[in-house]
Protein backbone atom coordinates (compact mmCIF):
# COMPACT_ATOMS: atom_id res chain seq x y z
CA UNK A 1 0.00 0.00 0.00
CA UNK A 2 1.26 3.45 -0.81
CA UNK A 3 2.08 5.83 2.00
CA UNK A 4 0.22 8.46 -0.02
CA UNK A 5 -3.36 7.84 1.10
CA UNK A 6 -6.33 9.15 -0.84
CA UNK A 7 -8.79 10.91 1.48
CA UNK A 8 -11.36 12.73 -0.55
CA UNK A 9 -12.40 14.10 -3.95
CA UNK A 10 -14.75 17.07 -4.16
CA UNK A 11 -15.91 19.09 -7.13
CA UNK A 12 -17.51 22.51 -7.20
CA UNK A 13 -19.56 24.32 -9.81
CA UNK A 14 -20.60 27.96 -10.05
CA UNK A 15 -19.25 28.82 -6.65
CA UNK A 16 -17.47 31.81 -5.23
CA UNK A 17 -16.69 29.86 -2.08
CA UNK A 18 -15.60 26.27 -2.68
CA UNK A 19 -15.45 24.72 0.76
CA UNK A 20 -14.28 21.23 1.64
CA UNK A 21 -14.65 20.23 5.27
CA UNK A 22 -13.46 17.34 7.40
CA UNK A 23 -10.39 16.47 5.35
CA UNK A 24 -7.74 17.17 8.00
CA UNK A 25 -7.65 14.96 11.06
CA UNK A 26 -5.33 13.35 13.57
CA UNK A 27 -4.57 10.61 11.04
CA UNK A 28 -1.86 12.60 9.21
CA UNK A 29 0.56 15.48 9.81
CA UNK A 30 1.18 16.28 6.14
CA UNK A 31 -1.45 16.59 3.40
CA UNK A 32 -1.15 16.90 -0.36
CA UNK A 33 -3.95 18.82 -2.06
CA UNK A 34 -4.27 18.67 -5.83
CA UNK A 35 -6.54 21.18 -7.56
CA UNK A 36 -7.42 20.81 -11.24
CA UNK A 37 -10.23 21.15 -13.80
CA UNK A 38 -10.16 24.88 -13.24
CA UNK A 39 -12.74 26.85 -15.17
CA UNK A 40 -13.44 30.47 -14.28
CA UNK A 41 -14.46 33.59 -16.05
CA UNK A 42 -11.48 35.87 -15.55
CA UNK A 43 -7.93 34.98 -14.61
CA UNK A 44 -7.12 36.18 -11.15
CA UNK A 45 -5.39 35.14 -7.95
CA UNK A 46 -6.70 32.08 -6.17
CA UNK A 47 -6.94 32.46 -2.43
CA UNK A 48 -7.64 30.10 0.43
CA UNK A 49 -8.91 30.25 3.97
CA UNK A 50 -8.85 27.44 6.45
CA UNK A 51 -11.88 26.15 8.32
CA UNK A 52 -11.59 25.33 12.00
CA UNK A 53 -12.96 22.32 13.82
CA UNK A 54 -16.10 24.29 14.70
CA UNK A 55 -16.79 24.74 10.99
CA UNK A 56 -15.97 28.44 10.94
CA UNK A 57 -13.78 30.20 8.41
CA UNK A 58 -10.54 31.55 9.83
CA UNK A 59 -10.38 35.10 8.53
CA UNK A 60 -7.07 36.51 9.70
CA UNK A 61 -3.41 36.00 10.61
CA UNK A 62 -2.18 34.70 7.27
CA UNK A 63 1.35 35.45 6.01
CA UNK A 64 2.29 34.61 2.44
CA UNK A 65 4.99 34.87 -0.18
CA UNK A 66 4.73 33.55 -3.71
CA UNK A 67 6.36 34.23 -7.03
CA UNK A 68 4.57 34.65 -10.34
CA UNK A 69 6.77 32.67 -12.74
CA UNK A 70 5.74 34.33 -15.97
CA UNK A 71 6.90 33.46 -19.46
CA UNK A 72 6.57 37.07 -20.59
CA UNK A 73 8.05 39.17 -17.80
CA UNK A 74 10.43 39.17 -14.86
CA UNK A 75 9.22 37.06 -11.99
CA UNK A 76 7.16 39.01 -9.50
CA UNK A 77 7.30 38.47 -5.75
CA UNK A 78 4.05 38.83 -3.84
CA UNK A 79 4.65 39.07 -0.12
CA UNK A 80 2.34 40.14 2.65
CA UNK A 81 1.66 39.56 6.33
CA UNK A 82 -1.41 39.60 8.55
CA UNK A 83 -3.85 39.02 5.72
CA UNK A 84 -7.48 37.92 5.79
CA UNK A 85 -6.66 34.98 3.54
CA UNK A 86 -3.79 33.26 1.78
CA UNK A 87 -3.07 34.07 -1.87
CA UNK A 88 -1.58 31.05 -3.65
CA UNK A 89 -1.08 32.18 -7.25
CA UNK A 90 -2.90 32.76 -10.50
CA UNK A 91 -5.87 30.67 -11.52
CA UNK A 92 -7.38 30.66 -15.00
CA UNK A 93 -9.24 28.39 -17.38
CA UNK A 94 -12.39 28.07 -19.41
CA UNK A 95 -14.99 25.45 -20.14
CA UNK A 96 -13.16 24.37 -23.25
CA UNK A 97 -9.63 24.85 -21.93
CA UNK A 98 -9.15 24.07 -18.28
CA UNK A 99 -6.42 25.94 -16.50
CA UNK A 100 -3.56 23.96 -15.07
CA UNK A 101 -3.83 23.54 -11.35
CA UNK A 102 -2.30 23.70 -7.93
CA UNK A 103 -0.39 21.34 -5.71
CA UNK A 104 -0.55 22.41 -2.09
CA UNK A 105 1.12 20.76 0.89
CA UNK A 106 -0.39 21.52 4.28
CA UNK A 107 1.62 20.74 7.42
CA UNK A 108 0.17 20.03 10.87
CA UNK A 109 -3.28 21.57 10.26
CA UNK A 110 -5.09 19.50 12.86
CA UNK A 111 -2.67 20.06 15.73
CA UNK A 112 -4.02 22.84 17.93
CA UNK A 113 -0.56 23.51 19.40
CA UNK A 114 1.11 24.45 16.10
CA UNK A 115 0.75 27.01 13.35
CA UNK A 116 -0.46 25.62 10.01
CA UNK A 117 2.19 25.76 7.29
CA UNK A 118 1.63 25.69 3.52
CA UNK A 119 3.76 25.13 0.43
CA UNK A 120 2.14 25.67 -2.93
CA UNK A 121 2.89 25.44 -6.64
CA UNK A 122 0.71 26.30 -9.60
CA UNK A 123 0.56 26.41 -13.37
CA UNK A 124 -1.83 28.08 -15.74
CA UNK A 125 -1.97 30.17 -18.88
CA UNK A 126 -3.14 33.72 -19.20
CA UNK A 127 -3.72 35.21 -22.66
CA UNK A 128 -1.68 32.40 -24.21
CA UNK A 129 1.22 32.93 -21.82
CA UNK A 130 2.36 30.45 -19.19
CA UNK A 131 2.22 31.56 -15.59
CA UNK A 132 3.55 29.37 -12.83
CA UNK A 133 3.62 29.99 -9.15
CA UNK A 134 5.66 28.92 -6.17
CA UNK A 135 4.98 30.00 -2.65
CA UNK A 136 4.66 29.49 1.07
CA UNK A 137 2.13 30.54 3.65
CA UNK A 138 1.53 30.35 7.37
CA UNK A 139 -1.68 30.58 9.37
CA UNK A 140 -0.44 32.12 12.61
CA UNK A 141 -3.11 30.60 14.81
CA UNK A 142 -2.73 27.74 17.24
CA UNK A 143 -5.99 26.14 16.29
CA UNK A 144 -7.22 22.87 14.90
CA UNK A 145 -7.91 23.15 11.18
CA UNK A 146 -10.18 20.59 9.53
CA UNK A 147 -11.11 22.10 6.17
CA UNK A 148 -10.30 24.62 3.47
CA UNK A 149 -12.06 27.18 1.31
CA UNK A 150 -10.98 28.22 -2.18
CA UNK A 151 -12.12 31.58 -3.47
CA UNK A 152 -10.90 34.17 -5.92
CA UNK A 153 -9.70 37.72 -5.66
CA UNK A 154 -12.50 40.21 -6.14
CA UNK A 155 -15.86 38.57 -6.71
CA UNK A 156 -14.68 35.81 -8.99
CA UNK A 157 -16.56 32.55 -9.39
CA UNK A 158 -15.27 29.08 -10.01
CA UNK A 159 -17.43 27.65 -12.78
CA UNK A 160 -15.66 24.36 -12.15
CA UNK A 161 -13.01 23.20 -9.71
CA UNK A 162 -11.89 19.82 -8.37
CA UNK A 163 -9.91 19.07 -5.23
CA UNK A 164 -8.29 15.76 -4.41
CA UNK A 165 -6.82 15.40 -0.94
CA UNK A 166 -4.19 12.89 0.16
CA UNK A 167 -2.46 12.24 3.46
CA UNK A 168 1.16 11.15 3.88
CA UNK A 169 1.09 8.26 6.27
CA UNK A 170 3.78 7.58 8.86
CA UNK A 171 3.80 4.23 10.62
Amino acid sequence: MSALRFINETTGTSTSSFQVTDIFSSDFDIYKLVVDRLDLGTATYARIKFINSAGSLITGNYDTCFYDLTSYALYAQNASTNQADLAIGYAAGTTTAWGGGFVIYVFNPYQSSTYTFVENESSTNISANFVGGKGIGILKNQTSVTGIEFHLAGSGIYDNIRLRTYGLSVV
Binding site: D63, K140, V170
Partner: protein, 173 residues
Protein backbone atom coordinates in the same frame (compact mmCIF):
# COMPACT_ATOMS: atom_id res chain seq x y z
CA UNK B 1 7.53 0.96 -14.49
CA UNK B 2 6.48 3.78 -12.23
CA UNK B 3 3.73 2.76 -9.86
CA UNK B 4 2.91 6.11 -8.29
CA UNK B 5 3.59 4.77 -4.82
CA UNK B 6 5.39 6.08 -1.78
CA UNK B 7 6.99 3.42 0.41
CA UNK B 8 8.10 4.44 3.85
CA UNK B 9 11.72 3.54 4.54
CA UNK B 10 12.39 5.09 7.94
CA UNK B 11 10.83 7.62 10.27
CA UNK B 12 11.96 9.39 13.43
CA UNK B 13 9.86 11.46 15.78
CA UNK B 14 11.64 13.53 18.41
CA UNK B 15 10.56 12.15 21.76
CA UNK B 16 13.68 13.04 23.73
CA UNK B 17 16.08 15.91 23.08
CA UNK B 18 18.77 15.18 20.49
CA UNK B 19 21.03 17.48 18.44
CA UNK B 20 20.88 15.40 15.25
CA UNK B 21 18.54 13.16 13.29
CA UNK B 22 19.69 10.62 10.71
CA UNK B 23 17.53 8.79 8.20
CA UNK B 24 19.08 5.91 6.29
CA UNK B 25 18.02 3.03 4.08
CA UNK B 26 18.62 4.35 0.57
CA UNK B 27 19.76 1.20 -1.21
CA UNK B 28 18.21 1.34 -4.67
CA UNK B 29 18.50 3.66 -7.65
CA UNK B 30 14.96 4.99 -7.15
CA UNK B 31 14.11 8.57 -6.29
CA UNK B 32 13.61 9.13 -2.58
CA UNK B 33 11.60 11.75 -0.75
CA UNK B 34 12.11 13.15 2.74
CA UNK B 35 9.40 14.98 4.66
CA UNK B 36 9.64 16.73 7.97
CA UNK B 37 7.12 18.70 9.98
CA UNK B 38 6.90 20.75 13.17
CA UNK B 39 10.67 20.72 13.63
CA UNK B 40 12.07 23.02 16.31
CA UNK B 41 14.97 23.43 18.71
CA UNK B 42 15.45 24.17 22.40
CA UNK B 43 17.02 27.55 21.62
CA UNK B 44 17.38 29.45 18.37
CA UNK B 45 19.16 27.43 15.69
CA UNK B 46 19.07 26.97 11.95
CA UNK B 47 18.30 23.59 10.40
CA UNK B 48 20.96 22.11 8.11
CA UNK B 49 21.22 18.85 6.20
CA UNK B 50 24.07 16.60 5.07
CA UNK B 51 24.14 13.33 3.18
CA UNK B 52 25.44 10.14 4.77
CA UNK B 53 27.60 7.32 3.47
CA UNK B 54 29.12 4.10 4.72
CA UNK B 55 28.25 1.68 7.48
CA UNK B 56 27.46 2.91 10.02
CA UNK B 57 26.04 5.90 8.15
CA UNK B 58 28.37 8.85 8.59
CA UNK B 59 27.60 12.46 7.56
CA UNK B 60 29.72 13.86 4.73
CA UNK B 61 31.27 17.02 6.21
CA UNK B 62 33.52 18.21 3.39
CA UNK B 63 33.09 21.43 1.44
CA UNK B 64 31.43 19.55 -1.42
CA UNK B 65 27.86 20.77 -1.33
CA UNK B 66 26.98 23.19 -4.10
CA UNK B 67 23.57 24.75 -3.59
CA UNK B 68 21.32 27.49 -4.90
CA UNK B 69 18.07 28.67 -3.44
CA UNK B 70 15.62 31.52 -3.43
CA UNK B 71 14.03 32.84 -0.29
CA UNK B 72 10.27 33.03 -0.07
CA UNK B 73 9.93 35.80 2.47
CA UNK B 74 6.56 37.17 3.52
CA UNK B 75 8.26 40.11 5.20
CA UNK B 76 11.03 41.10 2.79
CA UNK B 77 12.30 41.13 -0.78
CA UNK B 78 13.56 38.01 -2.49
CA UNK B 79 16.93 36.67 -1.47
CA UNK B 80 19.04 34.44 -3.70
CA UNK B 81 21.81 32.38 -2.13
CA UNK B 82 24.29 30.02 -3.69
CA UNK B 83 27.76 28.58 -3.52
CA UNK B 84 29.89 25.84 -2.01
CA UNK B 85 29.09 24.75 1.54
CA UNK B 86 29.81 21.91 3.92
CA UNK B 87 26.10 21.50 4.63
CA UNK B 88 22.79 22.59 3.11
CA UNK B 89 20.81 25.34 4.84
CA UNK B 90 17.13 24.57 5.35
CA UNK B 91 15.78 27.34 7.61
CA UNK B 92 16.40 30.45 9.65
CA UNK B 93 16.57 30.40 13.43
CA UNK B 94 13.96 28.20 15.12
CA UNK B 95 13.11 27.73 18.80
CA UNK B 96 10.16 26.20 20.53
CA UNK B 97 10.30 29.00 23.08
CA UNK B 98 8.86 31.28 20.37
CA UNK B 99 5.19 30.63 19.68
CA UNK B 100 4.73 28.93 16.33
CA UNK B 101 8.43 28.77 15.53
CA UNK B 102 9.15 25.59 13.59
CA UNK B 103 9.77 24.36 10.08
CA UNK B 104 8.35 21.82 7.67
CA UNK B 105 9.60 20.73 4.29
CA UNK B 106 9.89 18.24 1.48
CA UNK B 107 13.13 17.10 -0.15
CA UNK B 108 13.58 14.90 -3.21
CA UNK B 109 16.83 12.92 -3.52
CA UNK B 110 18.35 11.66 -6.76
CA UNK B 111 21.23 9.27 -7.60
CA UNK B 112 22.07 8.65 -3.95
CA UNK B 113 22.69 4.94 -4.39
CA UNK B 114 24.83 5.25 -7.50
CA UNK B 115 28.56 5.32 -6.70
CA UNK B 116 29.52 6.69 -10.11
CA UNK B 117 27.14 9.67 -10.10
CA UNK B 118 26.83 12.86 -8.10
CA UNK B 119 23.85 12.96 -5.81
CA UNK B 120 21.29 15.71 -6.19
CA UNK B 121 18.43 17.10 -4.17
CA UNK B 122 15.66 19.65 -4.45
CA UNK B 123 13.82 21.08 -1.50
CA UNK B 124 10.91 23.30 -0.56
CA UNK B 125 10.67 24.49 3.01
CA UNK B 126 8.51 26.79 5.09
CA UNK B 127 9.39 28.13 8.52
CA UNK B 128 8.47 30.61 11.20
CA UNK B 129 11.62 31.95 12.79
CA UNK B 130 12.44 33.37 16.20
CA UNK B 131 12.18 36.90 14.77
CA UNK B 132 8.50 36.18 14.03
CA UNK B 133 9.04 36.06 10.28
CA UNK B 134 7.18 33.70 7.93
CA UNK B 135 9.60 32.42 5.34
CA UNK B 136 10.66 29.50 3.19
CA UNK B 137 13.31 28.30 0.77
CA UNK B 138 13.01 26.74 -2.64
CA UNK B 139 16.26 25.35 -3.90
CA UNK B 140 18.52 22.50 -4.75
CA UNK B 141 21.98 21.10 -4.29
CA UNK B 142 24.39 18.55 -5.54
CA UNK B 143 27.19 16.96 -3.63
CA UNK B 144 30.34 17.13 -5.72
CA UNK B 145 31.73 13.73 -4.95
CA UNK B 146 30.68 10.71 -6.97
CA UNK B 147 29.97 8.22 -4.23
CA UNK B 148 27.19 6.00 -2.98
CA UNK B 149 25.24 7.70 -0.22
CA UNK B 150 22.58 6.08 1.90
CA UNK B 151 20.69 8.76 3.77
CA UNK B 152 20.43 12.25 5.17
CA UNK B 153 21.51 13.80 8.45
CA UNK B 154 19.81 16.82 10.02
CA UNK B 155 21.69 19.08 12.40
CA UNK B 156 22.35 22.64 13.49
CA UNK B 157 25.60 24.52 13.86
CA UNK B 158 25.73 24.55 17.67
CA UNK B 159 24.61 21.07 18.78
CA UNK B 160 21.37 22.47 20.14
CA UNK B 161 18.78 19.80 20.78
CA UNK B 162 15.77 19.17 18.62
CA UNK B 163 12.69 19.35 20.79
CA UNK B 164 10.02 18.45 18.24
CA UNK B 165 9.57 17.13 14.75
CA UNK B 166 8.88 14.08 12.65
CA UNK B 167 11.29 13.15 9.86
CA UNK B 168 10.37 10.48 7.31
CA UNK B 169 12.19 8.93 4.36
CA UNK B 170 10.11 7.48 1.52
CA UNK B 171 11.04 5.62 -1.62
CA UNK B 172 9.19 6.92 -4.70
CA UNK B 173 8.08 4.07 -6.97
Amino acid sequence: MALGKLVQVQTTTIVSPSPTVTLTGIDTDDVYMVTYSNVSFATSAELFMRVTSGTPATPVTSLTYNEARIGLFADAAAQKTGGNQNKVGMSGGLADTTTGSSTSGIIYLYNFNNSSEYNFGIYNTVYRDTSLRSRGFSGGFYQKTAQATNGVHFLNASSINFTSGTFTLYKVL
